[in-house]
């Protein structure tokens, strides 16, 4: 009996391993190994050319980032923080608002959902170029304004306007995914509970506040985390829309890594900047998930 039990356990373990090992191997090769290399390179002076070996320099790259002797990283961190926080708020507000408007299934809403998702299908670089053509100093909007005898607007030529414009364009390009998530989340909200609340005399706002919103908590957590993670590494839109300018007004953390450090063959420094970005992204994600735990518990109660 004991022998049979051992054999069964062994067979189960083998089965589990057969299912797990390939996935784990893929994960290790595609995720752990590259990140491991990035961490190693972050402690070296390395230009990325294999024939020229990396030189171990300890924490120098990190010290350079922290001391920021030429004020490169501080502006990039502020721009990234603005993009991530303001952008995440706007992306989620727009996505949730539209999801509430489009949640009923009919022909128009199906068409409207496709239209709303369309910007996300476009390459981020193309989104940047597209809006550059629309909002540039001689873009479509300013041409119309000038034609109407009005003064033009500095969408991309004034630092503050350029940052606001960039956030707006990023939101336009990204909210489609969050919209789909919210639509899916809304489908899972109990229709009976909403109906019961209405019968009890709750108006639309009250139904949303006390039934729909709490039930959406897990979806909200996912959309906030995914939107912030996505916004933290914004790069292509920046390249197409402003190329980081005017000056350094729209240079993000990812732009600093890719267009400044990597472009100048400072692979070691770029890796240190990337490792710190990974840590910040991880820290933010876990913090948001921890903060949202109580709301999600409430959602389970509503369910």
């Amino acid at each position: 009996m004991a022998a049979r039990s051992t054999w069964t356990r062994g067979r189960d373990t083998l089965g589990a391993l057969t299912l797990t090992v390939p996935a784990a191997a893929v994960y290790v090769v595609l995720m752990v190994v590259p990140v491991g290399f990035a961490i190693y390179y972050s402690f070296t002076s390395y230009n990325g050319i294999p024939s020229q070996a990396p030189e171990w320099i300890g924490w120098d790259n990190y010290l350079r980032i922290i001391t920021d002797p030429i004020d490169e990283m501080r502006p990039a961190v502020w721009v990234t923080a603005a993009v991530a926080l303001i952008g995440a708020f706007l992306v989620n507000a727009a996505a949730l608002g539209l999801a509430l408007l489009l949640q009923r299934t009919n022909r128009f809403n199906t068409f409207a959902r496709a239209v709303m998702f369309y910007p996300h299908v476009l390459s981020a670089l193309i989104v940047g170029f597209l809006w550059q053509a629309i909002l540039g100093p001689q873009g479509a909007v300013n041409n119309i304004l000038a034609g109407a005898g009005q003064s033009t607007l500095p969408f991309l030529s004034d630092p503050t306007w350029a940052l606001a414009t960039m956030i707006g364009v990023i939101v336009w390009g990204q909210f489609g995914v969050q919209l789909v998530l919210y639509l899916a989340g809304l489908q899972a909200v109990s229709a009976e509970l909403q109906e019961a609340a209405r019968i009890d005399g709750a108006n639309r706002v009250q139904v949303f506040r006390h039934v729909t919103w709490p039930a959406l908590a897990p979806t909200v957590t996912v959309t906030i985390v995914t939107s912030i993670l996505s916004l933290l590494k914004v790069y292509d839109v920046v390249l197409g829309l402003t190329n980081g300018g005017p000056g350094d007004a729209t240079q993000t953390w990812a732009y600093e890594i890719l267009a400044v450090s990597f472009a100048n063959n400072k692979v070691g420094l770029a890796c240190a900047q990337a490792v710190l970005l990974i840590l910040v992204a991880g820290l933010l994600s876990f913090t948001i998930i921890a903060l949202r735990r109580r709301a999600e518990t409430g959602a389970e109660a509503v369910s």
Binding site: P69, P137, Q138, L156, D236, G245, G247, D248, L258, N265
Partner: protein, 423 residues
């Protein structure tokens, strides 16, 4: 012009894939003994330098030698970005056009010093490091040029193109007074930094010949070198001769504005003549050399870069074939003429002008007392020992259009150089 900002990571992945495919295809070709008989050449692809024109350029060489030349465009935003990515991926091409060796890539480039033909190529002395030649070209592209609208000049009562900075200031004031929308046109991205440097080369090299060496040995600073020029730009911004919209307008659009007659003066390198020849404006275009402080020094040294620079990768699959190709491109008269049609350049002792605009530039080049290499040169005795000069210069200089004082921008330039030179 190959100076552009980079877009590295997505490009790296594409570079890897493309170069791997190209290598796989190239490697299977037959060839001469001791080599693959195939040369992969990475080139700059633009509106003027199309894939078809590159193919046409190398076709006679292929026919004569039997060597197969594969033309590859940049997989990222520029050759400057693509080549290091390919080196990192182990898929670098054999010949590289349009960029110069940098301190990082120089060890990967073949030393051409032993070849007699390489020593005789234009500007080989200015681009040599301690006499070592590792990049060769077909001519020079004059940089310190200001193209102007002769009609607008006449309308503003300006009879002669300016020779000094004071005269240039007077001309800009007159253009503004006569209602020209943009007395002097600057452009976004790489162009801002390049334009400001181009205009300053003559006076900078009158004041401090070989200024890069002075910065490198610590007897001068980058900020000191550029502060007077930054002050000029700052004054022009304050006077409204150029606005913040200019540095958010791409160079193609600003060139179209000049051709449309909205810009009085447009500082740009000699390659702009190709655009002018393709879309001739309704007005007569003039060109003058960037000014100097004292009329007695005019014209000053002309800023110039090597036109069609070529490098051979040390370790190319067929070094001999790659070297033969480069020799052909920089010495064969027909090849040089073909390249002159592709993109304007000047060459002493050889008339390669193809239109009235390039002929005007040729006159200025011939009148120049000497040539000076720009600050963003990455190789040779006159190279600043830092990477990324033009992008950083552009970023900081654009601050002038946002009201930053010239002294602050100059101080930041010095701080950047100090951090980069030691780091």
């Amino acid at each position: 012009m190959s100076t552009r900002r980079s877009r590295a990571l997505p490009a790296t992945a594409i570079t890897l894939a493309t170069a791997l495919v190209a290598t796989a295809c190239g490697g299977s070709d037959g060839g001469d003994e001791g080599g693959s008989g195939t040369v992969r050449m990475l080139v700059n692809i633009t509106d003027n330098l199309t894939q078809a024109k590159w193919d046409e350029l190398v076709a006679p060489f292929e026919e004569e030698t039997g060597i197969d030349v594969q033309i590859e465009g940049p997989t990222g935003q520029s050759v400057a970005e693509t080549f290091p990515s390919q080196l990192a991926a182990g898929t670098a091409p054999d010949v590289i056009e349009s960029i110069f060796p940098s301190p990082d890539t120089a060890p990967e480039i073949l030393d051409l010093t032993e070849f007699e033909w390489a020593q005789d190529t234009p500007m080989s002395d200015l681009y040599a490091t301690d006499g070592q030649v590792n990049v060769v070209g077909v001519g020079m592209q004059a940089q310190s040029l200001l193209f102007y609208n002769k009609d607008l000049f006449s309308q503003a009562g300006i009879s002669e193109p300016p020779q000094t900075w004071a005269e240039l200031d007077d001309a800009l004031a007159a253009l503004q007074e006569s209602g020209v929308p943009t007395p002097i046109g600057f452009a976004a991205d790489w162009a801002t930094g390049v334009q400001v440097q181009q205009m300053w080369h003559p006076q900078q090299n009158v004041a401090t010949p070989g200024w890069q060496e002075s910065v490198a040995d610590g007897s001068s600073t980058l900020g000191e070198q550029f502060e007077p020029m930054l002050a000029h730009v700052s004054d022009w911004v304050e006077a409204g001769y150029t606005t913040a919209d200019d540095v958010a307008t791409d160079s193609g659009t600003q060139e179209a504005n000049f051709i449309a007659g909205d810009v009085g003066i447009y500082p740009m390198g000699s390659w702009f003549t190709t655009t002018l020849a393709a879309s001739p404006p309704d007005f007569e275009v003039g060109v003058f050399a960037a000014p100097v402080d004292d009329a007695a020094d005019a014209p000053g040294p002309m800023g110039a870069t090597l036109a069609f620079p070529y490098m051979v990768r040390d370790g190319a699959s067929d070094v001999d074939a790659a070297t033969q190709l480069v020799e052909y491109l920089v010495t064969d008269e027909d090849a040089i003429a073909t390249q002159a049609e592709m993109d304007n350049f000047n060459r002493e002792g050889l008339d390669v002008t193809t239109d009235e605009y390039s002929a005007s530039v040729q006159e200025i080049v011939e009148a120049a007392p000497s040539f000076a290499v720009p600050g963003n040169q990455t190789v040779g005795d006159y190279a600043l020992p830092v990477a990324g000069f033009n992008p950083k210069f552009t970023e900081l200089v654009q601050g002038l259009w946002q009201g930053r004082p010239a002294a602050d921008v100059a101080a930041d330039l010095t701080a950047w150089y100090d951090a980069e030179a030691t780091g």
